[in-house]
């Protein structure tokens, strides 16, 4: 085994990417955006998930990019890809058809059930901040077998007791309306403080691990609801030298996302 690198030399992006990559062990199909999910899936491909395939919202399957893509529609994702699908095929057959193991989502706000808000801060009719909205997030949540959320900032405004608006509901909210979702909803939330986990319908997010040097109370304070904590909170093993070398030298040598 390679030795652990001192945490202070690891950037936040590196930490989150490495932790997310480990959670992708043995996964096959991942629906991911650009940035941290790209780093995580590329690193997973080189480590714990050799058969992983990223499906992009733009319709690209089996990309072999010559450069790190800057958007999910980057021309370098298309040239040399194995398939490019139309939107109806991508959203209808691949996503709603149930072919995605893990979807990555981000959000401005998340609640204890893994419901997400990407629409507005404040009231929808006259918001303090108009955010971009769903994009495909509603569909990723409803149709992926599970969803990973990576959030750089862990604070009570983002981890909120009550969403200002629920753009993207998890399966509990769907079931309450009598609609049966395909997957488990959010199963992992990876933040700068640690890892929250949730097993599926009826289950709340629970703190299962903290990064070295982070206390459980720090996470509680940073969370806007009364956070459930696992009986056995672990410490996230810091990125290994091997993981960091792959990330820095093979995945993103130009530090496009590792800013």
């Amino acid at each position: 085994m390679t030795t652990a690198t001192a945490p202070e030399t690891v950037t936040s992006s590196e930490l989150l990417s490495v932790v997310a990559s480990r959670e992708l062990a043995a996964r096959r199909t991942v629906f991911a955006g650009i940035g941290l999910p790209t780093l995580a899936t590329e690193l997973a491909h080189l480590t714990v998930a050799p058969d992983i395939e990223v499906v992009y919202e733009s319709g690209v399957c089996g990309a072999h990019p010559s450069h790190l893509p800057e958007t999910i529609a980057d021309a370098v994702l298309i040239s040399g890809a194995e398939a490019v699908l139309s939107m109806p095929a991508l959203f209808g057959c691949v996503l709603q058809g149930g072919h995605i193991d893990v979807g990555f989502l981000g959000a401005a706000q998340i609640d204890r059930w893994g419901n997400l808000n990407t629409s507005v801060i404040g009231d929808w009719e006259s918001p303090a901040v108009r955010l971009p909205g769903s994009g495909g997030a509603v569909e990723v949540m409803a149709n992926s077998h599970e969803v990973f959320v990576v959030m750089r900032r862990h604070n009570p405004r983002s981890f909120t007791g009550t969403l200002d608006f629920c753009t993207t509901p998890g399966p509990d909210r769907a079931l309450a309306e009598g609609i049966r979702p395909l997957g488990a909803g959010v199963t992992r939330v990876i933040t700068e403080l640690g890892i929250l986990a949730r097993v599926g319908v009826g289950s709340e997010l629970k703190l299962i691990a903290v990064h070295p040097g982070v206390t459980v109370n720090q996470v509680r304070d940073a969370t806007g609801w009364e956070l459930k904590v696992s009986d056995e909170v672990g410490t996230v093993p810091p990125p290994t030298a091997a993981e960091l070398r792959l990330l820095r030298e093979d995945v993103d040598p130009g530090r496009v996302y590792l800013r």
Binding site: G33, A75, I179
Partner: protein, 318 residues
Amino acid sequence: MKRTETADDAGKVMSMKEAVAAFVHDGATVSLEGFTHLVPTAAGHEIIRQGRKDLTVVRMTADIVVDQMLAAGCVSRLVSSFVGNSSAGSLGELRRRIERADPAPLAFEEYSHYGMVCRYLAGSQRLPFYPLRSYGGSDLPSVNSDLRKVVSPYPGPGGEQEQIYVVPPVNPDVTIIHAQRADRRGNTQIWGLTGIQAEAVYAAEKAIVVVEEVVADEVVRSDPNRTVVPSHAVDAVVVCPRGAHPSFAQGYYDRDNAFYRAWSHISKDPERLRAWLAEWVYGTADHAEYVDKLGEDFWAGLAVGEALSEPVNYGRRL
């Protein structure tokens, strides 16, 4: 590759000015599609130049061109599933319009991407609605009364009654898309991301296809599977090279990522935004002038190399 040098044999081939004048009217519902790839920017600019008012704009990813049309006062209603400047930041004018009704309110119909896709599917297939497994538990139906439910007439997996959300069709007065090439009759070929363009065209009453180039009939006919939109669905073909900038055209020019990043700053300041419009849209007679103004050095920076598809054999009877 043969290319037609003149367009005088082609009734559907017209200038952007003519196409917008003929098919985009005040108060119309206008769909502009192209998912990051092949965004019909030049068409949006010509709509601005012609001073259209009260448009309902339908666009999945309302991005820079929509922010510009908003700033120019062309748009009173927006139907969209993503209102942001890609991953490069915010749309300043859109946020001012929605957050503060500044300088005017903007009616906004919010969907998810697949909700929009399904509206185009319903519109193109002349269906009264299209079902999708989204929206259960979402707050979106509370702000968008067009998200409704239907009970399936078949039992669900456990024998229970099953309900599902549906969206209504969208049938724009005109859809405008950008494509790599078409023949003079409007048989339109796109490669790389093809998005929702075909359905957006079929859903519309009229359709304008803006292309990087009009090619000889034989070029299109050498590969009929590449034709994403057949001529019978197209009303106008507009030749407008580099008309998707700052977006890209696979195999023709790359995305101008620097401009996307710049737009967040430009659009944040209303004065600066209006100065930009004055210089780059009102200040250019057409897209050819806009292209010239950017300069050949600029375009060299977006140039792409060659990666040709291997030909396939369609065969001919011996």
